[in-house]
């Protein structure tokens, strides 16, 4: 059993523990799961600018129901997985690294900045990519702008409060 090394990556899911690279054969499964996720995002209409507006205007329960039910399902699954000593199909013990709280400023401020963008584009990152195929090709420009945003954060990072 080797000691997992922590990569410098801290974009989403701060300092992800990466014991070993993914076996190429497994990539097919990630692709299939991704296809399923893109399909579900589309069918559930969470990719819709109109649905996001409806949510932020508190005019429908739908989005709250979707996010709430997703959280409950995920929380129950995680609780069950923690109680079992199941290993993943790739042979690793299942563990979810916790993000360090720090001062919490990055979560409050970063979250608020993302929220502004979420309401303007009507899409969070998953839907941005699902929208390419859903008849909104101009969203590719929003994705490029998002990459520029992430790059700018990386550049400004030493000067930002965390």
């Amino acid at each position: 059993m080797t000691i997992p090394s922590v990569t410098a990556f801290d974009g989403c899911g701060a300092s992800i523990v990466e014991p070993k690279p993914v076996r190429p054969a497994f990539l097919v499964f990630y692709l299939v799961l991704g296809i399923a996720f893109g399909f579900v995002l589309s069918r559930s209409e969470v990719i819709s600018w109109f649905r996001i507006q409806e949510m932020f205007r508190f005019q429908s329960f739908r989005m709250y129901g979707i996010i709430g039910a997703a959280v409950v399902t995920a929380a129950l699954s995680v609780a069950i997985l923690k109680r079992t000593s199941l290993k993943s199909a790739s042979g690793e013990p299942i563990s979810i690294p916790r993000r360090p709280l720090g001062s919490g400023i990055r979560y409050a401020l970063g979250g608020t900045i993302f929220g502004l963008g979420w309401a303007l584009t009507g899409a969070c990152p998953g839907p941005l990519f699902a929208l390419i195929g859903n008849g909104v090709p101009v969203i590719v420009v929003a994705i490029l702008a998002a990459l520029l945003g992430t790059w700018t954060y990386a550049w400004a990072r030493p000067h930002l409060p965390h």
């Binding site: 990630y30 399902t73 195929g133």
Partner: protein, 188 residues
Amino acid sequence: MNALLYSDWPWYVAGPLIGLFVPALLLLGNKVFGISGNLSHLCAAIAPGKLEFFRYDWRKAGLWNLVFLLGVVLGGFIAFHGGPVQDIAISPNTHAALSRLGIHDFSGVAPHQLFNWHALLTLRGFILIVGGGFLVGFGTAYAAGCTSGHAISGLANFELPSLIAVFGFFAGGLAATWFILPLILGGL
């Protein structure tokens, strides 16, 4: 079967299905569900510059997630070609509120008036598409997560940082919806 696959799904079907991606990724390879990390991985792969934030092995940390993301794009295409969304059945109140802001085309998933190539040349379209996209990329990197990483994975793991982030998501979303959008769309 077709009706099930191609109609809009109710929240109590869509929500649990979305939540199941968390255990699915954990069981497959001990991976934490979260989309926005891919923006970092793409930057690290394409233009890391000399920035410390991108100084990690993106293949090792994120190739699985980039492949997942490619799947999301394909899944969107498959859903669209199976039966594109014609009209989103939004609440009459939302319909009325958006109409007052000048939106009259309610077909498709996003308003064609605002999200098309020509709109990019207008200040309004530029702010929505380029400005909005930039804020999504900057904010998710700063907050270390988006709706999937914080609102779903993080909350499901009872993480305080994620709860703070989700409050931020809503603070920003409400501000943009109630104060910024009326300014941008005014006179549409």
